[in-house]
């Protein structure tokens, strides 16, 4: 059994992270502290819901990889609206990300994000 798993995954690994945050907390934040977390392009024309979602996404990435800092993660939107995640590979050490997926949602007063990485262990 254990052998089979080895052949299936080899030296691969899955890492996940999720985070939930209250939207209200982004109604009063000033720009200087937002820029400590986000890139200018990320927060342009953003509602509190979006900011909370982005924050949750970044926080979940940080949960998956402890070594990531805020500005190692940048999130864009595809035309369809699906978030597109890119991270700074330098900070991952010997690991290599083969694939990643991110999903963000909000309802009522909370925003939530979940991220999955498929990692090749170095």
């Amino acid at each position: 059994m254990s052998n089979k798993q080895n052949t299936l995954f080899g030296n691969m690994d899955i890492k996940t992270g999720c985070d939930i945050v209250e939207i209200d907390r982004f109604r009063k934040t000033d720009k200087s502290s937002l820029l400590k977390i986000f890139y200018e392009s990320e927060i342009r024309n953003s509602r509190p819901e979006t900011l909370a979602g982005l924050f949750a996404a970044k926080e979940s990435c940080k949960k998956a990889f402890n070594s990531l800092r805020w500005h190692d993660i940048i999130i864009n939107k595809e035309k369809s609206g699906k978030p597109l995640l890119s991270i700074n590979k330098k900070q991952l050490g010997k690991n290599a990300v083969l694939s990643s997926d991110l999903s963000i949602s909000h309802d009522g007063s909370y925003a939530i994000a979940i991220v999955v990485f498929v990692v090749k262990k170095g």
Binding site: V21, S32, E40, S41, R44, I74, N76
Partner: protein
Amino acid sequence: MVQDAYSIQKLVYLSLLKNKKLSFSHKTGYRTKSINGQELLKKINAARMMLKRYSIKKADKVIILGNSSIEWVTIYFACILSNITAVPLDALTDKTLLQKICRQVEAKAVFQSISINLPAGAKIKSFYLEELDDKLKEFKTGNVPIDNANPEDPLEIQYTSGTTGDPKGVVLTHKNILTALQAATDALKLRIHLKFLNVLPLSHVFSQIMGILLPVYYGYGIYFIDSIRPKKLIAFIRNKRINAAIFVPGMLAAVKNDLEGKCVPCSLGIQFRLIGVGGASLDIDLEKWWKRKMIMVLNGYGMTETSSVISLNTPFASKAGSVGKIAQCVNVKLGEDGEILVKGDNITSGYYKNREKTISSFENWWFKTGDVGYIKNGYLYIKERKKDIIITSSGLKAYPVDIESVLNSIKGVKESCAIQRNNKIHAVLILEGKIKCEDVIKEANARLLSHQTIAGCSVWRDMQFPKTPTGKVKRFILQQELDKTDRHKKYAYENKVYGLIHQVLDPGKEIKQNSKLVELGMDSLKRVEMISELEKQFDVEIDETRIDKNTTALDIEKLMKESRITSIKFRAWPTMPFVRVFRHALQVFLLFPLIRFFTRTEYKGLENLANIEEPVIIVSNHQSAFDIPVITRRIKMPFAVAAHPEVVFGIGVGGIQKILRKLLGYCSSFAYNAYPFGAAIGTGTSLEFTGEMIDRGFSIILFPEGERTPDGNIHDFKSGVGYIVAGMEAKVIPVRINGLFEVLPRGSSIPRFGKTSVIFGKPIQFSSKQLSKMTYDGITKLIEQKVRSL
């Protein structure tokens, strides 16, 4: 004279066309954009074409919603010239109010800042001010004749309040504004060229008349800045050599607090001499403090309804404590209870679609200001705003200002506010040190009159009261907070760091030395907020990774002491013309021949430098001490070199090394126009300096490896270059130097003979779309690849 122009439209048009020195500059991020009057006029014409295209015509209304910017001014002037009524609103306008206003004015379009979200369901055409420049390129910029306006046509509608009840829109006509402007120009008569800083929101009529129309008329250089942090303002005034500014008293006090104990001319520069103040009453001690520093503070009195002018202090006739001589265009009389009543051509005709309010604001054609004052020798003095009078249960009037001045004079009271609670006087205090609020009240009551007796008190939780943009304390918010709960009770911290931590984390219990921040309610978002707050207050840059779940309040205090100081001033002398002449001579007669003697340099890719007009960022690998003259030999533009703060300038090192390195710093500033750039002075300050250099027209030479190569190879670039590229909106030219390592390697002081080559790559222009998908490290890596591949 103003009246020669007959109308505000002609005045604006002619001033923009004819005042050669008139310019507008706006600092956003790290860069300052500039534009002169004629260029602005072209833009205005394009904007008017655009308004026409969207069939917005005479007497239609257009909302302008955003912070001060050149685009804001463009739209405002376009509206004036096309006789369209502008509705300028504060960027922080409450959403419900915005909705009400939209419904009331039936605006045809809104020009808004990209960061503002209009209320859902507002069916109105919206344009982003930030994207206006691109939009205007579609329209031709031919001359558009002025759509003449009658003096009685409304120029703008100013909304003053109305979150509760109906919104109050003050209608100001062309005549109103012209009269007010005339009064201002008559009083000031400063026909010399000044650099004029306007930090007030342009949505206020005071800011429009004193901050744009008057400077436009006189042809000043007008400056806007996004930040109102005192430290940023001070640096801006000094670096841009600002002569005059308009402030509100709150800002004046904040800047004063920051300057206290420092050399004022060194911080602001000796050219800064005049401050205009309006919007709220000015404390006489504050005024005197500035006057002692030989900076003239002129305050005036007025309100939106009077187009901001009732009385003015002038450079030639001013009296401390008074709000100045009554303007010629205004008639003033005092009502029964001392209320100031005014009449004149600058007074509004009424509130927009609000007849009741209009009727109740006028008394026999005299406008009721609601303020209590008196006149002495032609000077007007304000006693109190009528609305703020506290009427005690015994029916006697008590003026909060009297009570507050007693409270403020007690040691340990930082700020105070007297409000009415249950028909009694209640004091809200902000305390410093370990003084108890009850003791303050006891002391105050001993000095107050019987009807002014304070019944209760509470300590405000923040370091500052909530204030309106013009610096008035929002008393109703204090009232609401007090009514809601007594949750925020008496925490007075002697230690400022703890006070700040408390303010951000709001833990509901006292912070002690060994209390862990996580237990006080710190999470990742609050951690960022706390760091940014601490950095603002203490001028440091804090490494976020140093704060984790085991950090205690004491650790933070220690961290603050270790953290790097970012309060370093920009050195302007290396950019001065005569220094540049000497530098050029030094290079041509000493450095270039020296280099030519030791090495023959082959230059490739010089054609890439041909069509470059604006400053660029030159990124190169670092082989030896000769790198800079080898590069600069073939570039024709003025340059500045980003240099290591510790190694070259001795920032953050001690002992004899510091003196030696400082000397090295002066030499390199002279020879190469070097300025500090690196982690030791903080990312923010480094980028500020870079922005300032580029604004002054210098291209930046940068060696992102951080040090000379020890083995001749190219080493990893540091991410600072990514921050520069993302923040500066400038082209990047990658440069590769080969062979200089053999001529003068690190550690050797005698050069050898050898051949070298310098390759200039193609300029890289990052579009904002590209940048939005790249991390700072990503940009760095891309540039590193470009340099390597040359």
